[in-house]
């Protein structure tokens, strides 16, 4: 009788799952069983090998693939998430801790034959070509063999065609030229690719086309075909007819045929030979039921038809004799076609899975080009109510609310307060008081409820008096709530006679990814303390669907937050990750405001590249005129640069959009403070207190202003009030500085001691604050030493020193000017 762990392991082999052999061997009692486990490990490899050869998905289609790395580290590479799962192993996105860069790591699980892996590494390394994925290294560590290579960001051609429809012939030919060049290189190295298909060609956001083969018979779901055949096999539709005959072997000609199928697919989204099973495909080949491209898609240039039909000739000897010959033919087609960007902003926007799933797509795109309408409407979206009776669905309601807000916010002619404004009004019903508080003309309220297995989404729009303007409802399965939202918003936009385009966004996003994304959004807007949880949810979402641009943008924004904390385990790593994620978001969706806001934040806080930051933040504001967040950050950038009037104007507009959010007023107050206009600064800080009594940020701001005016006692009292609201070490260190300015040396000591105790518990503040204390005490040399040190660490909190009154005692020293010059902050 076999031991339970052995049977379980065997079942996992049969399911095609990854197995932790170490723990299985540990759990076995007899030496015999341990030896059997070793043999099972070998069987697992053989099974994986067969799956690889069959290109057949292991397990039942509904078996979810593992989405988190099953190990955290491999040598000097830190595993971040699973990109694809091949039969021989798994492909991860990983962080190279030595060279500090992101890489793709293919790990061959189990006790693989290391020499075979090294051989694959050497083989791949022979192909150094712009359009072939670049191998960095190969090694065997802890008994696991792996190859790491360049991480290619982008979307597979499959994903692009499924998402946004077939390409124009000139575009397809242009992509084809690059694939042909890659294939020429592969053949020149004496190799065959054997798996040329749309899933294996990735187009990066920069436009670079990369041919890859992760040897992944089983890729993450986002790369999988949605149709039936994929559950059996993905590749056979690309297989040349001669390969369906017994004893056939692959050749250059069969690679050329696959390439021809790829070209066919790019312009039609279809295949010349269809079949749900291998048998059907074989019979279709035999019967010659081949749909020529000419019939499948009419009106293409005849040269394109010619290239495809020559590549797809049944007789291998009549096909192109080399990929290079095909390149020449394709280049001619590409040159004759109308040249336009292959993936224009608009199309890329429509194609991105998340954006497609979002609302009023066409409308937003149009608003980018359209001039601002004088008749700006204001609508507040009240938090959707969760009437499902299931409290665990609350995130769906909150997530959808945020989706609705952020999409309406992208319409130029509409002003929409953010979740921060409406969040406190949960469970409120539309009323004139609510409309006044939010400063809007119209209120949109809605709910989700359960209707059998489905979710009903109902919304109604009222004017400020509570009279119904419009109402609608849609019932969908939970997986379809995003599209339901989409429908509703389009109808709403129509009701408001906003110009809605005719394009219907496609729903490329996978349902579980959408669900994780909604959960992430709900956590993101819920509290500053749920950001790590939000990051986990967004991470899950992008693992399931790497096309979710907005999820990448939020991940980047959260990572930036972590990168710029006073104490962070690896600041540079977080900064690089955040930048990579922001660039990815923008690459996927150039018109998504959050990606630009995230990139702008990194350029401002981490890179200190103020011109680039301004460009990114301005773009974010242009794309989403209602987005208070980007506006606020942009205002603070302008303050740091001493461009006070512009900063004040931006912050004032953010306040106008969201009068009910205290932080908007304190940001405006801070802009006045840096401009030296203390009376207006006080006025705005007090406005923040009127909105949110005892608002800590307001008290802190009032304390700094009082200190700048030499009103020390009041300054101390205000900062103590702020500290009563939050145990913020950044505020406590400012209290020490205010004491220093007041000449209360003993209190400075006492406060610094308290900070010291806190610091040992991990709660700390940034070093530049000590420079401000030294400045207040007249220890000028010390202040400069501390500022130098802060500068070497690029602490974001010192970015405002050009305008910060706390460094006034240092301004006449030439060292200060020199520092500003090095920070590129000199006027």
């Amino acid at each position: 009788m076999a031991e339970e762990p052995l049977l379980n392991a065997a079942a996992r082999i049969a399911d095609g799952e990854v197995i932790d052999w170490g723990s299985i061997t540990d759990s076995l009692r007899s030496e015999e069983d341990r030896q059997t486990a070793d043999e099972l490990a070998l069987v697992a490899q053989i099974a994986a090998g067969h799956r690889q050869l069959h290109q057949i998905l292991p397990g039942d289609p509904e078996t979810p693939p593992e989405l988190v790395p099953d190990r955290a580290r491999w040598g000097h590479l830190e595993l971040l998430n699973v990109v694809g799962r091949g039969s021989y192993g798994t492909v991860y996105r990983a962080w190279d801790t030595r060279l500090e860069r992101l890489v793709a790591l293919k790990l061959f699980h189990g006790a693989s034959n290391p020499e075979a892996v090294m051989q694959e590494g050497r083989m791949l390394a022979r192909m150094r070509h712009e359009h072939v994925v670049l191998v960095y290294g190969a090694d065997v560590l802890d008994g696991v063999a792996g190859i790491w290579m360049e991480l290619v960001h982008g979307r597979t051609l499959e994903n692009i065609v499924k998402g946004q429809g077939p390409l124009a012939p000139a575009d397809a030919a242009a992509v084809g030229v690059e694939v042909a060049r890659a294939l020429t290189t592969v053949h020149a190295a004496g190799l065959l690719h054997c798996d040329v298909k749309a899933q294996n060609v990735v187009r990066e956001s920069t436009g670079r086309v990369v041919l890859m083969d992760f040897g992944a018979g089983r890729l993450a779901p986002e790369y999988r075909d949605a149709d039936e055949l994929s559950d059996v096999a993905g590749t056979p539709r690309y297989m040349a007819p001669e390969l369906f005959v017994s004893g056939a072997t692959a050749s250059k000609a069969s690679d050329i045929y696959s390439f021809g199928i790829l070209l066919y697919f790019l312009v039609s989204g279809r295949f010349p030979i269809e079949g749900r099973t291998l048998g059907e495909l074989k019979r279709a080949h035999e019967a010659g039921t081949f749909t020529p491209l000419r019939e499948m898609r009419k009106g293409l240039p005849s040269a394109y038809y010619d290239v495809v039909s020559k590549a797809l000739d049944r007789d291998p000897t009549k096909r192109y004799d080399s990929a290079a010959a095909m390149q020449t033919a394709l280049a001619a087609v590409a040159a004759r076609g109308t040249t336009r960007p292959i993936f224009s902003d608009r199309r890329a926007w429509m194609a991105s899975a998340v954006v497609a799933a979002l609302i009023v797509a066409a409308l937003v795109v149009q608003s980018i080009c359209a001039p601002a309408t004088p008749d700006v409407r204001s609508i507040a979206v009240l938090p959707m109510r969760n009437l499902t009776g299931d409290p665990s669905k609350a995130y769906v309601a909150d997530g959808l609310t945020e989706v609705l807000i952020s999409n309406l916010a992208r319409i130029r002619s509409v002003r929409v307060p953010s979740f921060a404004a409406v969040g406190p009004l949960r469970n409120e019903t539309p009323s004139p008081a609510i409309a006044d508080k939010l400063g809007v003309e119209l209120l949109l309220a809605g709910s989700i409820s359960q209707a059998n297995d489905q979710i009903r989404l109902a919304v109604h729009l009222t004017d400020r008096n509570g009279s119904l303007v419009w109402g609608d409802e849609v019932t969908r399965e939970l997986a379809g709530v995003m599209s339901a939202q989409n429908d509703l918003t389009r109808r709403l936009a129509q009701r408001l006679t906003l110009d809605v385009g005719t394009d219907s966004p496609t729903l490329g996003a996978n349902a579980r990814a959408q669900d994780a994304y909604l959960r992430g959004l709900a956590l993101r807007v819920s509290s500053p303390n749920t950001q790590e949880e939000a990051a986990r949810a967004f991470r899950e979402a992008v693992d399931l669907d790497p096309g979710l641009a907005d999820a990448w943008a939020h991940l980047s924004l959260i990572e930036t937050l972590f990168a710029e904390r006073p104490v962070t385990p690896d600041r540079e790593r977080s900064r690089i990750l955040a930048r990579e994620m922001a660039e990815r978001a923008i690459g996927l969706d150039p018109s998504g405001p959050n990606g630009h806001a995230a990139l702008g934040s990194i350029q401002f806080y981490s890179d200190w590249d103020f011109a680039a930051a301004e460009q990114s933040l301005r773009r974010a504001v242009d794309l989403s005129p209602s987005a208070a967040f980007a506006r606020q950050r942009y205002a603070m950038l302008l303050s740091a640069l001493g461009r006070h009037d512009e900063a004040i104007a931006l912050a004032r507009e953010a306040q106008r959009i969201e009068p009910s959010v205290a932080l908007r007023s304190t940001t405006l107050g801070t802009a006045y403070y840096y401009a030296g206009d203390y009376s207006r600064a006080i006025q705005e800080m007090r406005r923040g207190l009127a909105v949110t009594p005892d608002f800590g940020v307001s008290h802190f701001g009032l304390g700094r202003i009082a200190s700048a005016q030499g009103r020390h006692t009041e300054a101390i009292a205000e900062i103590e009030r702020a500290l009563a609201q939050s145990r913020n070490s950044g505020w406590l260190v400012e209290l020490a500085r205010v004491y220093a300015a007041a000449g209360r040396r003993a209190d400075v000591e006492r406060t610094l001691n308290e900070l010291d105790v806190r610091q040992r518990g991990g709660d700390t503040f940034t070093l530049d604050n000590l420079a401000y204390i030294a400045a207040a005490e007249g220890r000028i040399d010390d202040a400069f030493i501390l500022l130098e040190d802060s500068f070497s660490r690029r602490l974001m909190s010192m970015l405002w020193i050009r305008v910060d009154p706390r460094v006034d005692p240092l301004r006449n020293d030439p060292r200060f000017d020199a520092l500003l010059t090095r920070m590129k902050l000199r006027p």
Partner: protein, 133 residues
Amino acid sequence: MQDTLIRTVANLGHFEARGEGALQAYLRGALMNRIRDEIRRKRRTPDLGALDATIPAQGRSPLEAAIGAESLAKYDRALERLDDEAREAVIARIEMGCSYAEVAELMGKPSADAARMAVSRALVKLAQEMRRG
């Protein structure tokens, strides 16, 4: 081993569908034939285990390249020693990539779950045989 896939298709031969029942019966027969072909083929294949496992990769199948001819030979020998049902279960699921529903259909098991169990048990038996060499 790429041949397996190609032969799978080639062996399906001509078939005229006469309703769903007939198709199912045909597919079951075809699958069974594929499996038995595979078994016959294995018997014809010379035992590579006896050769030096470090021979150049030339002429080796991708599976051998990845796993090693010696290991593959050990696997084949053990498979040969299994009873018919266990051998067919392994070949159908592991080598042919049949779904559990297909395996159940082939082996006359009442459900996909039962087929999964049968495959798992067969794999353990196989490993035990491999341990013996």
